[in-house]
């Protein structure tokens, strides 16, 4: 078991002017499940591959435990990786695939077989040990890839979107299996995904990246409740947070025909005459009778059983703005209705329009 530390780790591809990973500072604690998340091209996979030793570190350092592994070849780092496409050796059986690393390490045959069997039991792979990968289903292949990592009992697990090739149902199942398994084994895990739901459900902590730059690190709850900038606010949460420009007013910001109070300090800190306001769909109060708040025309209501999501639009300062609000699944306004929306007090996020940084530092309930 070990910690993982990125110290200003940078990866600049030859011929490119912008680093794929830009001065990444990140500490992963011993036994922690850390998720790297971000849109495609944000540098999350590159960061993971730098940790694996498959990608050169142009600047900065990477440490596993106290060891500086920056220039160490992958095999000396004591890590195991699960690849997006599993990368199973097609000419070897499941048992041989799982035992390959041990064989190279010179572990004797009996112990090898015992450790492979142990891992296979953990993953329900026992009946398939003699099969070749092509005779396995996608989910089974994914488990073999996991098993290959587990068998080695490495210091760190690296997982590069291991669920992206599974169908939706299997993905949800495997998600829980992986989180409970890594926690049971207590091995430090760095997990890459582009799916923020996966990140929220699996991670002890989440690191959000964009364009090679770390945006925010925190617990799922932290990221959801206190996004530090507009990007994190919009990226974490589904449906995404409503974000729009609102004019400053005396003691707060204008929200339709009402004024949402905002701390003096926050308002003063904002540059310009407007701020970017963020309200999560579940923090929007929908009123069909009231006249307070933002007048919205309902375009569509998505029913999800217990809940529904109301999609509507309004005009703010002459600009069409789309708004999403969570509504009750049984009684809700219908498409074409006009409603008035107000935010739940204490659940309004405010960001500087220019820098995108958060203005209010904690939501007071």
């Amino acid at each position: 078991m070990a910690t993982v530390t990125f110290e200003k780790a940078t990866r600049l591809y030859p011929g490119s002017t912008r680093p794929a990973v830009d001065a990444l500072d990140l500490d992963v604690e011993d036994g922690e499940f850390l998720v790297l998340v971000g849109p495609s091209g944000c540098g999350k996979s590159t960061s993971l591959r730098m940790l694996a030793g498959l990608e050169e570190v142009t600047e900065g350092r990477i440490l596993i435990g106290d060891r500086d592994v920056t220039d160490m070849p992958p095999k000396d780092r004591d890590i195991a990786m699960v690849f997006q496409n599993y990368a199973l050796y097609p000419h070897m059986t499941v048992a041989e695939n799982m035992g390959f690393a041990l064989k190279i390490a010179g572990v004797n045959k009996d112990e090898r077989a015992a450790r492979v069997l142990e891992a296979a039991k953990l993953l329900d792979l026992e009946p398939y040990l003699a099969r070749k990968p092509k005779a396995l289903s996608g989910g089974q292949r994914q488990r073999v890839a996991m098993g290959r990592a587990i068998v080695r009992s490495p210091q760190v697990f690296l997982m590069d979107e291991p669920l992206s090739n599974l169908d939706a149902k299997l993905r949800v199942q495997t998600r829980t299996q992986i989180s409970s398994l890594t926690r049971r084994l207590g091995v430090t895990t760095v997990y890459v995904t582009h799916d923020q739901v996966e990140a929220l459900t699996m991670g002890d902590r989440i690191a959000v990246l964009k364009d090679g730059v770390l945006q925010q690190v925190g617990t799922p709850r932290d990221l959801y409740a206190n996004p530090e900038n507009v990007f994190v606010a919009g990226f974490i949460g589904s449906p995404a947070m409503n974000l729009f420009h609102a004019d400053k007013a005396d003691g707060g910001i204008r929200f339709g025909n009402t004024i949402i109070p905002l701390e003096r300090a926050a308002l003063d800190a904002a540059s310009g005459t407007a701020v970017t306001v963020g309200v999560r769909p579940e923090d929007v109060i929908v009123s069909t009778t009231g006249t307070e708040g933002l007048p919205v025309e309902v375009d569509l209501v998505e029913e999800l059983g217990a809940d529904g999501y109301l999609y509507g639009h309004t005009e703010i300062n002459g600009q069409r703005t789309d708004i999403v609000a969570r509504v009750d699944g049984r009684s809700h306004p219908n498409a074409g209705d006009r409603v008035h929306l107000t935010p739940k007090l204490g659940h309004v996020h405010a960001f500087d329009t220019e820098s995108g940084l958060r203005l209010v530092h904690a939501i007071v309930d």
Partner: protein
């Protein structure tokens, strides 16, 4: 729902049968005709080699089917006791096996390096190798004959081996390099993380997965060298000549010594066939199935 579905199936069945006939039936017939066409001379040769010279000079080989009594293995017993022929047969083996092994070994090592190891000048070196493919063998016969003469390789088996190896390598490297690049990079990365050295990745991952290409290459090179006469005719002498040259030197007018020729030719033909059928099982596509996704 059932009835329309039935009609559709029936229509498709009729059209399908026609398509099947053209698609498979005609192709099969053509294949059989071509096969027979190609097999007749070989069968003729095989049967001639089992008849004595008198029969061969008086009647055609097809009379065997009506008079099986003329079959004899005398030609082969004569051939086996003919030291010149058997010596050239051994020479052929002594040339072909090393020339094939060298091309396969060097070609696969170089192919791996060109495909997966980064080194300065790699791409230019590969271009140079591919350019070598365009050099016809004939243009280098005289310079190399001169070179061999000055370093004492002329007339030796080693000289022929080196020549065939050199001319087999550009294609071997090109073919194997292209095949090896098809192996998903993730597999090699996984092996690297598993602690495999470069050599182990080559021997445990690349070689087994490259078997179809390596087997085809081995067969092509084997057949090429085994059947080669031009190179051998120029670079060998009476003691180092392979069987192709020996057979050619035995040719007389009107097939006067068909008894020894037919048996020798058939012997030189049967070995490549054995090699082909032995390696045939490696020609399996989709060897990579199941590695990713």
């Amino acid at each position: 729902m059932t009835a329309p579905a039935g009609i559709v199936t029936a229509k498709r069945g009729a059209a399908g049968r026609i398509l099947d006939f053209f698609g498979r039936g005609v192709v099969n017939i053509v294949l059989v005709i071509v096969a027979v066409f190609w097999l007749v001379p070989s069968i003729g040769l095989a049967l001639s080699s089992l008849r004595n010279s008198v029969d061969n000079s008086q009647t055609g080989w097809w009379t065997v089917f009506t008079r099986p009594a003329q079959l004899t293995v005398d030609n082969y017993t004569n051939l086996l006791s003919n030291s010149q022929f058997m010596g050239s047969f051994v020479n052929t083996i002594a040339i072909t096996l090393p020339a094939t092994a060298a091309v396969v070994i060097i070609g696969s090592l170089a192919g791996y390096a060109f495909a997966w190891i980064r080194f300065p000048g790699r791409d230019w070196l590969l271009v140079a190798v591919i350019v070598l493919l365009a050099v016809p063998l004939q243009v280098s016969l005289i310079p190399i004959a001169k070179l061999y003469g000055s370093i004492g390789l002329f007339g030796s088996i080693l000289g022929v081996i080196i020549f065939h190896t050199a001319y087999g390598l550009p294609f071997a490297i090109f073919l194997l390099r292209n095949f090896f690049t098809q192996v998903p990079g993730e597999l090699l990365e996984a092996a690297r993380l598993d602690g495999a050295s470069e050599w182990r990745i080559f021997s445990r991952i690349i070689l087994p997965l490259g078997m179809p290409a390596i087997a085809s290459l081995a067969i092509f090179q084997f057949l090429w060298v085994w059947n080669d006469m031009l190179v051998a005719l120029i670079f060998t002498n009476a003691t180092s000549q392979p069987i192709t040259v020996a057979i050619q030197s035995q040719l007389r007018q009107f097939g006067a010594n068909i008894d020894i020729l037919s048996a020798g030719a058939f012997l030189s033909m049967i070995i490549p066939l054995i090699v082909f059928f032995a390696f045939q099982r490696y020609f399996v596509s989709a060897l990579l199935a199941g590695s990713t996704k």
